[in-house]
């Protein structure tokens, strides 16, 4: 994989995935709207939104520092970097290298989150501050579960017939819902600033910066969905077929996420702790099961 062709291969796949990322959000939204008896926007609306944002002017508070300008670039770069990194993991033959890459990916996202949280505080608006504090609060509970489940993945190899892997899948699904700001932890659709978590941090952004942040969040979502997909029948679908079945896995995950979003109310903010602690606990059990070889 260290050959030139390997690098080009990874970049090509990353490009395709990045291109498909808004479409995945489109699938989720379309599925939700269908279930709600609405026609809703088309599957490609997020592309139009991003194109529109890129052509718009920005409104920038007078009080902001360089962090505000740097954050969109950092967040976007981090997402792309994370995408490239997970493509270096070989599904089906996870090794300690794979584990190392996954941990690095989570740290890269941590960096992005750090900058976004600072940017939320930067303009001094009350919503940004609330958003930042909530985002850090939620992520501090979501991250441990993700780290532990990555360990389980490398031991169990994504074999869906293993107890440890099933538990890890359950745990990581909950954490991914939190990471991608979906109901029941966060609500992407809401207009109520006071209830927002992730969205509240980026309220100050507009135009090109917002486009970058939006695109980054679509890419982050597809990265997490890709990781999630590794827990599902990885050894059962080896080699070249894995990439053929990959889009189907992502689509299935999207539809399940949409279904969860539609059938639950958002949790009270502090209930998210219970939810994510549960996820962490399951992750621990999964890791014990994995070390017992189950």
């Amino acid at each position: 994989m260290t050959t030139l062709s390997g690098i080009i291969f990874i970049i090509g796949k990353a490009f395709l995935l990045a291109l498909a990322a808004p479409f995945v959000s489109g699938i989720i939204r379309k599925t939700k709207n269908c279930m709600r008896m609405r026609r809703g926007q088309g599957l490609f609306q997020f592309y139009f939104d991003i194109r529109k944002l890129f052509s718009k002017d920005e409104v920038i508070s007078k009080n902001v520092s360089w962090i505000f300008f740097a954050a969109p670039a950092v967040v976007f770069t981090a997402s792309v970097l994370a995408l490239l990194m997970i493509l270096m993991v070989q599904p089906g033959s996870f090794t300690s290298d794979g584990m190392a890459i996954l941990i690095a990916v989570f740290f890269v996202f941590g960096l992005a989150r750090f900058f976004l949280a600072l940017a939320g505080l930067d303009a001094g608006s009350s919503f940004g501050g609330m958003g930042s504090s909530r985002e850090m609060f939620i992520s501090s509970f979501a991250e441990p579960a993700i780290f532990i489940t990555a360990f389980v993945l490398c031991v169990s190899g994504g074999n869906s017939f293993k107890v440890s892997n099933l538990l890890a899948l359950f745990s990581v699904s909950m954490a991914v819902i939190a990471e991608t700001s979906r109901i029941p932890v966060d609500n992407k659709e809401t207009h109520l600033e006071l209830t927002m978590i992730h969205e509240a941090m980026v309220l100050e952004y507009s135009g090109r910066s917002l486009a970058l942040i939006e695109l980054a969040s679509h890419i982050k979502q597809i990265v997490f969905f890709t990781i999630l997909s590794w827990y599902i029948f990885t050894p059962q679908v080896p080699g070249i077929y894995a990439w053929a079945i990959f889009p189907a896995k992502i689509a299935a995950i999207s539809i399940i996420v949409a279904f969860v979003e539609i059938s639950l109310a958002k949790m009270r903010l502090f209930r998210a702790v219970d939810f994510l602690s549960f996820s962490f606990f399951i992750a621990l059990v999964a890791s014990i099961a994995a070390s017992l070889g189950l």
Binding site: M37, R38, S126, S133, E189, H191, L192, E193, L264, A265
Partner: protein, 527 residues
């Protein structure tokens, strides 16, 4: 024992003898007192009648008697009567001793009187303006005085509204509004929070103040109905009904039974669509979008039914003084029957969906509690009061035509979002039953829809239990039947303060949910 003796006995028990009591109508009683006795009589009635101040207002009578008149109204459920305490306040340097120290529910009204008439309530610690914001409105202009001349321009003295400040380690302020992300009215909310829990919430309103009460002066009742309907768009029928009740009481014609029954029908339809809307709104604010969408379908079907019946989705242009304009014939009656059957089925399904959802119930249960005593002190009315254990429903207190229908008033005790939600569910079902009953009653009524009225001078209070709570309209008609003074009291006026108490101790992200469970009117408050 009639009302007159009942009130006289109460006053005599405290040796307040020298008062003049008059009862122009069966359900209205005026106690005229001197300035010195005003506070004492009000406190006495407040305690003995167990009633908050229902409305409180002033009137510029300087052209007739050289003074202002200040009214404070209580409700005696036992005597089925509104009890007004009235005092004259001198025309020069008008002031009176505030009663808000003993009766907190008068506090906002006193602020309003101070602002609109320049009558100072002595001893009221809070006389900040409510609607004429200091930033733009110059001092010394009192719109509801008869000799009011509008100011030439905006105020330039740089006055600022003073918010209550909470200080301490880790306390920060979150200002929200008046411009919001949704399509709702403008209101400024100032939270003081320690982390997420709210320590204090101050609500500043008045951004949609249109000067309705001034606008109504000099209009005849036909013009006034049109204005009154537009005070708060979602309560168009409730408002026109309260106004018509007021003028009809004064002018005296017996309204045809058919019109009375139709008014019940329309009022309940208004309640129905708004409650359906709120049930959906509560679901939406906790991110539960499927039932929210379902509720909006139900609301839309009721609005279409409204349009089919009256030509107006929001039930405007139906009421006139003397009766109603839009009849419901056999064919329409069948349409309602059919539509209601479907609506009832849908509403039951919606309720079932929400009550059986653990994630939804977890959000609404024990959130935003308004305690009974707080609600009493603040003078909370309507849905919010009934959820907090105050069972006041004007449809029961003054039955009139409602006396021939069988229905129950809702009452819950916990005062949380779930209680307000349950009150709405209960009232929805009662409304459907009332509409069915009124359709049956219509068959037995004569065809007459309205009756001609002759203008006359006088005063009267009209009321209607609109969907949000009691709407009160006190009107004085002068020469030629033109309105001299019309005081509008919307349930939102004091319920907004109830909201600011209900959210205390809750976390900031739960505020929109609490807010939606009250669902108060911005324009009804701002007038």
């Amino acid at each position: 024992m009639n009302n007159h003796e009942y009130i006289k006995n109460i006053l005599d028990s405290e040796k307040i003898g020298a008062v003049n009591i008059s009862a122009p109508y069966r359900d209205e009683l005026y106690v005229t007192v001197t300035g010195a006795d005003f506070g004492k009589v009000c406190s006495l009635l407040h305690k003995r009648l167990d009633s908050a101040v229902m409305t409180f207002f002033a009137e510029d009578m300087r052209a007739r008697s050289g003074s202002f008149t200040v009214y404070c109204a209580f409700l005696s459920v036992q005597a089925r009567s509104w009890i007004f305490v009235r005092q004259d306040v001198p025309g020069e340097n008008p002031e009176f001793v505030s009663i808000a120290k003993d009766i907190y529910s008068a506090a906002l009204f006193e602020r309003e009187t101070n602002e609109m008439f320049g009558i100072t309530p002595l001893g009221n610690p809070d006389i900040r303006s409510l609607r004429l914001h200091d930033e733009v409105w110059p001092r010394g202009f009192y719109p509801l005085r008869k000799d009011f001349v509008p100011p030439a321009g905006k105020s330039a003295d740089g006055a600022q509204y003073q918010f209550r400040r909470v200080e301490g380690e880790g306390i920060f302020e979150v200002p929200v509004g008046p411009v919001h992300a949704g399509i709702i009215g403008p209101g400024h909310f100032r939270f003081s929070a320690a982390g997420e829990p709210v320590i204090n919430l101050e609500i500043r309103l008045g951004w949609t103040h249109r000067g309705i009460e001034k606008l109504l002066e000099g209009k005849d009742h036909a013009e006034a109905v049109n204005i009154v309907e537009r005070i708060s768009g979602d309560t168009a029928f409730g408002y026109s009904l309260a106004f018509c009740n007021s003028v009809e009481k004064m002018l005296g014609p017996e309204i045809p039974v058919r019109a009375q029954v139709l008014r019940v029908l329309y009022l309940e339809l208004e309640r129905l669509y708004n409650h359906a809307n709120d049930m959906g709104g509560i679901a939406l604010d906790v991110g539960f979008s499927f039932p929210a969408q379902f509720a909006s379908l139900i609301k839309e079907s009721i609005l279409r039914l409204n349009e089919n019946l009256s030509g107006s989705r929001y039930l405007k242009g139906i009421n006139i003084v003397g009766g109603v304009e839009k009849d419901i014939d056999k064919a329409k009656s069948a349409v309602i029957d059919e539509a209601l059957t479907k609506i009832e089925k849908d509403i039951l399904a919606l309720e079932d969906m929400l009550f059986s959802s653990i994630s939804f119930m977890d959000r609404v249960d024990a959130t935003g509690i308004l305690r009974t005593q707080t609600a009493r002190d603040l003078g909370i009315t309507g849905v919010a009061a009934r959820a907090s254990g105050i069972g006041l429903d004007l449809r029961k207190a003054f039955p009139d035509i409602y006396g021939v229908f069988s229905f129950a008033a809702a009452k819950e005790h916990r005062g949380d979002v779930a209680s307000r939600f349950k009150v709405r569910c209960f009232e929805t079902k009662e409304s459907i039953s009332l509409i069915h009953q009124s359709l049956k009653k219509l068959d037995g009524c004569g065809p007459q829809l309205k009756i001609a009225v002759l203008p006359k001078e006088g005063t009267a209070l009209g009321s209607a239990e609109a969907w949000r709570g009691p709407v009160l309209v006190w009107t004085r008609l002068g020469a030629g039947g033109k309105i001299e003074r019309c005081k509008i009291t919307d349930p939102s006026f004091r319920n907004w303060e109830g909201l600011s108490y209900a959210v205390l101790g809750n976390i900031i992200p739960d505020f929109p949910l609490c807010n939606k469970s009250f669902d108060l009117s911005y324009p009804g408050n701002d007038l």
